[in-house]
């Protein structure tokens, strides 16, 4: 395939930020699951033992929080849903079942990605805010901390489940997608199929 058939999709900065968000989230998941499920407590060994995992977890959370703010501010401009996006959401079943001819053309991000962005953004706020309380529990009431534990788990659970779908769609289901986050490029043919309106804009 010739080099002319490639389009730049994500900048170096975007890729780095996405990488830090993803990497820190997985590290948080590994240590957090150890604290949530006794049968997974052995995962703390990956962080150097239980006490080390307890110390590291909030610091990794700080990295996650900061990189998430960067990512949200990098992409928020492109993430507001327009009329075509609502039509896209109406046809989400066709998108999921490979009937790409019936799916309204998407821009740089399709409506599913936009919704994913907003949901993960809200979950991240809950996740980080409750994490801050649990980091320094001596400053807060135990009733509040119990609620924080519940919300911290619930938001992680939501984010973690969405992550499975996110990775599946980006790697296995739609080949060529992940490359946009690795070397930043996608093929024109990929863009024409998945993001026709963005492809058109790039071709002007």
């Amino acid at each position: 395939m010739s080099s002319e058939s490639l389009l730049g999709r994500f900048t170096y900065v975007e890729r780095v930020v996405h990488c830090v968000v993803g990497g820190s989230f997985v590290a948080l998941l590994v240590t957090g699951l150890a604290f949530s499920y006794p049968s997974l407590f052995w995962l703390t060994a990956l962080a150097g033992g239980g006490p080390a995992a307890r110390v590291l977890h909030p610091w990794i959370g700080t990295v996650f929080g900061v990189s998430m703010v960067c990512m949200l501010s990098l992409w928020i401009r492109d993430m507001f849903l327009d009329r075509d996006d609502w039509r896209w959401l109406g046809a989400v079943k066709d998108y999921a079942t490979q009937n790409h001819d019936k799916v309204p053309p998407a821009g740089k991000y399709n409506a599913g990605q936009k919704v994913f962005f907003w949901v993960q953004g809200v979950l991240a706020v809950v996740f980080v805010a409750t994490g801050l309380l649990l980091w320094m529990p001596e400053r807060f009431e135990s009733g509040l901390l119990s609620v924080a534990r519940l919300l911290h788990f619930a938001s992680t659970m939501g984010g973690g489940l969405l992550l499975i779908v996110h990775v599946y769609l980006g790697t296995i289901a739609y080949p060529g997608t992940a490359r946009g986050m690795i070397d930043g490029k996608v093929t024109r043919r990929w863009a024409a199929l998945h993001h026709p309106r963005w492809h058109q804009d790039q071709s002007l």
Partner: protein
């Protein structure tokens, strides 16, 4: 004497919620009974606690109370709280012996994520193993009595261990031993409940019609109980009226943890089935 240091529950293991009771015949459970009406506020028990457990003395300052310290700490496991309350124009000290109550259903142990960091023995004593503690302080959140205290230097949590070494040797805890008015009694839980009934009867006769025993059901009862002369004024003794070992958010959390396992499996299987049904979208096929 039977082995009263056999493990009954251990944090972050199945035994936390299914106590290992079926293994043993009826090993006796022990309890302290604190008769507040007999306390003269000498703080001898605080000193005995510090001495027996070899806990460093903290410098204290007068803060306008007869109380020795403002709060419990990682090396002050017992604090006589001198609650000053006005009753019918008179000043009353509603003294509370503030220390671990050793709950039958320990909220700290239920909340702890570190296997074996908190254990409950068959004799009812709840003990912290600092060598297994990870310093998350979930036990502090889980305790309805605000007892465990975090030590910043070692990043572990401490509290009264009911002088477990003395109890194991057949002795009473140090605070019981030292109390000059016998305000603190020690024995099997059944004996202490019977003693509490006698004490309440005496108090009733002396005009304390509301005298009661504090052995709250929300935590399955405790292994330090109080005889409270003014049983209708628990707040004034800083005793929670309705403590619980499993507050609603924690019940919700255990439900979510189970739901998360199901949803995780559902997502993995779901994506696998989607893949097998619809396969990959190869862009070449759509041109």
């Amino acid at each position: 004497m039977s082995n009263n240091l056999a493990i009954r529950r251990m944090s972050a293991t199945p035994s936390a919620f299914i106590p290992l009771d079926s293994l043993r015949s009826n090993a006796p459970e022990y309890a302290k009974l604190v008769d507040i009406s007999k306390c003269i506020g000498c703080k001898g028990c605080e000193v005995a606690c510090k001495e027996w457990n070899d806990l460093k003395v903290e410098p204290t300052a007068n803060f306008g109370s007869f109380q020795s310290h403002e709060d419990l700490s990682s090396n002050t496991w017992l604090l006589m709280r001198f609650n000053e309350v006005e009753v019918d124009g008179d000043l009353l000290w509603m003294i509370k012996k503030d220390a671990c109550l050793h709950c039958e259903d320990p909220g700290c142990l239920f909340a702890c994520p570190a296997p074996g960091a908190i254990v409950q023995y068959t004799n009812g004593i709840v003990d912290f193993n600092q060598d297994k503690c990870i310093g998350c302080q979930y036990c502090v959140t889980g305790c309805p009595f605000d007892i465990p205290r975090f030590d910043k230097a070692t990043k572990t949590v401490f509290k009264c261990n009911m002088c477990i070494d003395r109890v194991d040797a057949g002795l009473e805890p140090a605070c019981v031993k030292t109390c000059p008015t016998n305000a603190i009694s020690w024995g099997t839980k059944d004996d202490m409940l019977a003693l509490a009934d006698q004490k309440i009867e005496t108090l009733n006769r002396r005009g304390y019609s509301k005298a009661s025993v504090y052995n709250p059901a929300g935590v399955g009862g405790t292994h330090m109980m109080y005889v409270v002369p003014h049983g209708d004024r628990l707040d004034d003794y800083s005793l929670p009226t309705d403590p619980t070992a499993s507050p609603a958010p924690m019940t919700g959390l255990s439900f979510l943890k189970r739901a998360a396992v199901f949803l995780f499996n559902f997502s993995v299987v779901g994506t696998a089935l989607h893949f097998l049904r619809y396969g990959q979208t190869h862009v070449e096929e759509h041109e």
